[in-house]
């Protein structure tokens, strides 16, 4: 059982998030607005090395990038 999304470097959570977004976007207008608010994510994160905090980065962008790199390795 090979998963197409796995080959594309996505994690299961990312795969779920994408499919959830698709479902939300295909809802009717009034419910779509309400549902899309549940999918919003504006977290920021920073990596730490040797007790020093790194730069603050947008989590969504960083995740997408990490997965693209992951895909290239495979």
């Amino acid at each position: 059982m090979a998963f197409a999304w796995k080959a594309a470097g996505l994690t299961y959570n990312r795969y779920l998030a994408v499919s959830a977004r698709v479902v939300r976007r295909s809802l009717k207008e009034d419910q779509r607005v309400k549902a899309e608010r549940r999918g919003e994510m504006e977290l920021k994160f920073a990596r730490w090395e040797n007790g020093k905090q790194g730069e603050h980065k947008n989590l969504a962008a960083a995740n997408a990038q990490a997965m693209a790199e992951h895909a290239e390795k495979q």
Partner: protein, 306 residues
Amino acid sequence: MLSRAARPALRAGSAATIRPATATIPTLQSANYATLREIEGRLKSIKNIQKITKTMKIVASTKLTKAQRAMTESRSYGQTSQTVFNEAETKALEGENKKILLVICSSDKGLCGGVHSGLSRAARRMLNEEGAGNYEIVVIGDKSKAQMSRSNPKDVVLSFNAIGKDVPSFSDAQAIADQICLLPNEYSQVKIMYNQFDNAQSYHPVVIEAYDEEAITQSPNFTAFEIDDEVLANMREYSLANSLYWALAEGHAVEISARRNAMDNATKNAGDMIDKFTILYNRTRQAVITGELVEIITGATASEDM
């Protein structure tokens, strides 16, 4: 909490104002007027603070119902995914050279009593008891980040912020879980620490555990579930996201209810202070008037004799 708001003012004027008004009648007229005005100013500022805390309390109260609903809903996410591991009797593998990852779920905002420091304290205690070398730390939220970066900066690997503006969503939890999965090191176990909601007044830090693939495959009743090796990694990631969502939502509800209580207390204390200062203000005003009268009368009697 009582005096925090008014502390600078108290420190500046305590020697000059509070005691003289109750014990001795002030001697200098000019000083008298000054203290009267000082008291008036302080009274005004306390009233303003009371207004702010009252508003914050109302805001927290309205948010609380929403947060509690999210918490009960998220519980079913977390508990359902935890059922698998309970039934399979999964236990963390010991003795390997893998570290344990500790995820601390706090938030960015303060003014909610001891929620964040309680969490950091519990984390620190755990690190001290079990040896900090075995742990790496992921911090969610600025408040605990500041506290953990003081005590264990070397062990922190990731920190998240901009959380706690609203009720945490599942996509928040998913994104965090993703980023944790992408960490370079392998961990024997992931411990998620959050504040458990006991009731509106009390909470305590607890830990839920998530396991790595090896631990799951080696658990005694694992075969009963007939999970393929290929989807095992998915299940692990997904259950991590579920547990995180549970922890985030419950931590959020605790924070809001703690903020409501803290603001309630602050409003009450401000009310007490306002009462006290109003009495002090009136007394001082009377003392000033009495002093003036005495002076006028003495002056009049003195000039009558002439």
